[in-house]
């Protein structure tokens, strides 16, 4: 019984964090675009004259989506049409099950691993979730029975195909260095120090891998500059025939995926919940100074460190979204197949060579 309670609390923490951050990102995106384009931005929604920088727009959006009429075109395959946004959203959320948000929490003689699922295959689970995510856009496009939607669905799936390969291969270097697919082990090994001072984070050992993963990850979120499946100004995309909450789920999926990519970037390349020089019993600086902290403070600090890293990458992805124009489709394919993929393979061979030489 206690086990189930603990599991539920962990799920509540992770999902609460992800969904709230996703909602905040919808607001942040509008506000950031306003700042970049020198506008005031989302500021209309107010409760009794209180505007709060337009934060009420999140609630207003949600209410609007809930009360909007549901539109299913005559040409649609009803059941699949309804299931597609669900598939899309569900598999995007599944990825968070294996992201560790702390090592272990010891409460009253009980050791609680701070992640929802402890799987040896770790990252493969996330790959599988992303692979299933493709069905959301393909089925939405096909089932709508509209030319624009079908085209968007085809584009979306082929884009995911092209970038998933580069995405997967770019991570191999990380697994060669840290010997595990289990994300928690990868994070633990990143706590080591190189030459006694530099934290052994993924960004230090795999700088090229980081850049490739970042680029491919942005393509997977299907946002500008990789937004061809949903090109708002031309084909609208695979969700053109969706309205109300079903569209809302597609809309949220993009942000949930953004958070998932940010969480992966933080976990694999920036030490996850690790803070430099923070050991399980407090800070131990390389110049000899120590600052001991109790167990709860350490776990809390680590959690905060992970949250800050994720928020930073979310900001970075949003900033990229408002800085670059969209690719042309042949440029998109060239980038995936002719630039990222060969570079990722070269990165694997280079990592192998360096690791062999070190030994």
């Amino acid at each position: 019984m206690a086990e189930a309670g603990i599991a539920l609390i962990k799920i509540a923490v992770v999902l609460g964090f992800v969904l709230n951050l996703a909602a905040l990102l919808t607001w942040a995106e509008r506000k950031q675009s306003a700042v970049i384009q020198d506008r005031i931005g989302a500021n209309r929604a107010s409760v009794f004259g209180l505007r709060l920088f337009g934060l009420f727009h999140i609630a207003a959006d949600a209410l609007k989506m809930l009360t909007k009429e549901d539109h299913v075109p005559q040409t649609a395959e009803k059941f699949i049409h309804g299931a597609a946004p669900f598939i899309s959203f569900f598999f995007a959320l599944m990825g968070f099950a294996v992201i560790p948000f702390g090592d272990v929490l010891r409460v009253g003689g009980r050791e609680i691993p701070l992640r929802i699922l402890d799987l040896n295959i770790g990252i493969l689970f996330i790959f599988a979730a992303i692979a299933l995510e493709i069905y959301g856009s393909v089925l939405a496009g096909w089932s709508s029975g509209s030319h624009y939607a079908t085209l968007g669905g085809m584009r979306g799936s082929v884009q995911m195909f092209s970038y998933e390969i580069a995405w997967g291969v770019s991570l191999l270097g990380i697994f060669m260095v840290y010997d595990s697919l289990d994300l928690n082990r990868v994070v633990l090994r990143q706590g080591d120090l190189l030459w006694g001072v530099l934290p052994k984070w993924g960004i230090v050992t795999q700088p090229l891998g980081f850049l490739l993963f970042l680029a491919a990850g942005m393509a997977i979120t299907k946002r500008v500059p990789f937004d061809l499946p949903e090109g708002e100004s031309e084909i609208i995309g695979y969700f053109v025939e969706y309205s109300g909450m079903k569209f809302g789920l597609f809309f949220l999926t993009d942000f949930v995926l953004t958070i998932l990519i940010s969480a992966l970037l933080a976990t694999l390349f920036f030490g996850g919940y690790q803070l430099p020089y923070l050991e399980p019993d407090g800070f131990r600086f390389p110049w000899g100074a120590t600052w001991s902290l109790d167990h709860y403070t350490v776990v809390f600090l680590q959690f905060v460190a992970l949250v800050l890293k994720i928020v930073f990458f979310c900001w970075l992805l949003l900033a990229v979204r408002w800085t670059y124009p969209r690719f042309r489709y042949d440029q998109l394919m060239d980038l995936g197949w002719k630039v990222l993929f060969p570079l990722a393979v070269a990165n694997v061979i280079l990592t192998g060579l360096v690791l062999t030489l070190i030994e």
Binding site: F86, I165, V240, D334, I349
Partner: protein
């Protein structure tokens, strides 16, 4: 357990939407969106063969990536032997990749 909670969330959202929203059917409203023009053909028609080629290539390279994962995690145990072994494997596939590139299967114009 995570699966059930994650399943529950979108279901609740969609159900709440169903209870709250108005239902006003209208024949023209239910036509598929084509910028106001009447749809001429069925949307489920044939698409460029390039989409299929990319899908096939994806499956092939996906299998290749899968082969690399168990190799990467025990790389420190295999050491030089593993490195040479994977060079042979990758070499054959890189040959195929260059062939595909030269034949123009990756071009999108």
């Amino acid at each position: 357990m995570f699966i059930f909670v994650a399943l529950l969330l979108p279901v609740v959202a969609l159900l709440a939407g169903r209870l709250l929203r108005p239902q006003m059917g209208h024949d023209t409203k239910l036509r598929p969106y084509e910028c106001g023009v009447e749809p001429e053909t069925d949307a489920r028609e044939r698409y460029s063969v390039r989409y299929y080629i990319i899908a096939i290539l994806f499956v092939i390279f996906d299998v290749e990536t899968i082969f690399l994962f168990p190799w990467a995690v025990i790389y420190d145990k295999l050491a030089l032997f593993g490195f040479i072994e994977m060079l042979v494997f990758l070499g054959i596939l890189i040959f195929g990749y260059i062939y595909v590139w030269k034949k123009g299967a990756l071009e999108w114009v």
